[in-house]
Symmetry: C2
Amino acid sequence: MSTLTSNFINPVTRPTLLLDEHKCKANIAAMAEKARRLNLQFRPHFKTHQSHEIGRWFRAHGVDKITVSSLSMASYFALDGWNDITVAFPVNVLEFETINMLAARIKLNLLVESVESIKLLNNGLHHDVNFFIKIDAGYHRTGISYDDLSLINAVLTAASHADHLRFIGFLTHAGNSYEARGREEIMAVHHESTDRLRSLKMHYVNDYPEMIISVGDTPTCSTMEDFSGVDEIRPGNFVFYDLMQVNIGSCSFDQIAVAMACPVVAIHKERNEIVIYGGAVHFSKEGLKDPRSGIIYGKVAEHRETFWGNAIEGFCLVKLSQEHGILHVPGNIIDRYKTGDILTILPVHSCLTADAMKSYLTTEGGLIRLIQNAQAQR
Amino acid sequence: MSTLTSNFINPVTRPTLLLDEHKCKANIAAMAEKARRLNLQFRPHFKTHQSHEIGRWFRAHGVDKITVSSLSMASYFALDGWNDITVAFPVNVLEFETINMLAARIKLNLLVESVESIKLLNNGLHHDVNFFIKIDAGYHRTGISYDDLSLINAVLTAASHADHLRFIGFLTHAGNSYEARGREEIMAVHHESTDRLRSLKMHYVNDYPEMIISVGDTPTCSTMEDFSGVDEIRPGNFVFYDLMQVNIGSCSFDQIAVAMACPVVAIHKERNEIVIYGGAVHFSKEGLKDPRSGIIYGKVAEHRETFWGNAIEGFCLVKLSQEHGILHVPGNIIDRYKTGDILTILPVHSCLTADAMKSYLTTEGGLIRLIQNAQAQR
């Protein structure tokens, strides 16, 4: 049987994001333990789960500082008692009201990558904030290039004249690890990135003895062991993992802690397709290249005892409209399914699926809400 | 100048979906007028705007029946007095509670494409509903193939034994028009689709004299004039249009009625890139193939008097992370921009962007909310 018949699935009548609390807590425990073992500060990124309740699961492991990707998200988590927050996003100088409100209450760490931003911050800040210089160590999304010492010096000089700004280190996101496939390729990205950050630290640590090196992407934090020179890790996606991470080699299928539960609404045996209620507004339109099926948006997971198991080979979500999903059904298993069944589907990118769904139904039957009301909160 | 400096943009500090009320109302008026002129019933699809207020703008044109894509959306619009609603989605038989609640109060029209669904409906219905048979006229997403008369007959026969089901016609969505480029290709899809529906009507109209033919996709409804045999149109996206529709040939740039306003947070002159606060959770990850720039997620619009104008050639959103957007800046115009500027960006797929953003800031300064709280409402 490939459909879920367990009790926990019974309340599902519409697209619902399921959360396996046990897998999620195991993912959290494993990363917290790894950070302890490697003597790294653990500042998990909360943009993936965006939930007060899941945030509290980290406190059991002594986590007392976090990363977020927007000032709105920082405000949301400050409300739940988090008082040391890094906003890992180039500072948005239009949000001084929020910056000052947060800086008055918590230890707020911002990202800067230009002299211009330092000057704008200096003009607008009424309270102390820490800042990291965002370093581009090879990903080329944001940040000052690791070898542009003249720009780094210019930022540090500008900051030294600012009243409320304190430099606390260099931060990078080796997002190019998402292009890696397998341990060797992840390691190549990791070594390149950490080598570059380590050189910067050696160059600047005498002048700034308290500065730290902060890195954080789920592929390297999940698979690497050598973090010499690094002080802090900030992975986020590992809390749930997803098909993209399986594809990269960061995790196994059975570590994926979220799945979409979607009703079957039509079956087209003549072309081996099942239509589900569950589309781009539920899964997000993040695709993944699959060697067999082209671009896919999810994989159907088999049923095992009380929760979902591994992905069924070739049973893929191959097309998404706003609310429709089209599944390609492999071999001759289509006869096992009927209208009204619920399928559980592992998402390609759990961060985007969670953000779209705005709540989780847990294996314990609980409903956990995310930060609500997109435009008002973001 | 390519940035917006008008008053209406001043409140923007974070990613915000702007709505040009005048363009939107003009799009509504034009489609309503076309339907009147061609003697077609106009049942607009409200899945694009998902808003009570924008829904009311249609009432000024005598619109009294609508289309939606989920039972939750039907409930939302029934709350605002709409009492003739087609749910243009294969009926989800797990939602009988909502179906019966709605059927007790309004004229509810559902879509059926199997004998199985008819039987399930017959078992669960306590009130009368109308149903369309969903026809696949070439798109191959859902529906009974236009030439499968034996299955159509089987559905009609099963329905004739059901207490609360009344057949009201054949409905199709020629979604394959989205693959068309230009008027000729749209016309080919349109003629194929409407010819097939017209044949069905000729075959069944004697037995069901009140049955209608309902079609509805924005490309054909925006550009075609010959709807002979068709009784009703259900376009949705036209209310805003977007880059995808420009690309298909359904509209011009200046008919696009929504744009994202996003703060510039970093500038990388060395690679002609601007980083904005505005990512996949705001735009959605729907991409569009652009002949010059590869896959794009939006185009920056120039500034004109009180609102945005046309897209600036080559100034494209080329990469999206969760909250970051990376813009490729053409030529040597990058020096015109600075951190803290607001850029207005035309979205690829306005339905998905609106769904992600959950509200609109209008040119009149108003805030219009969409249906809220994804999981609870969908």
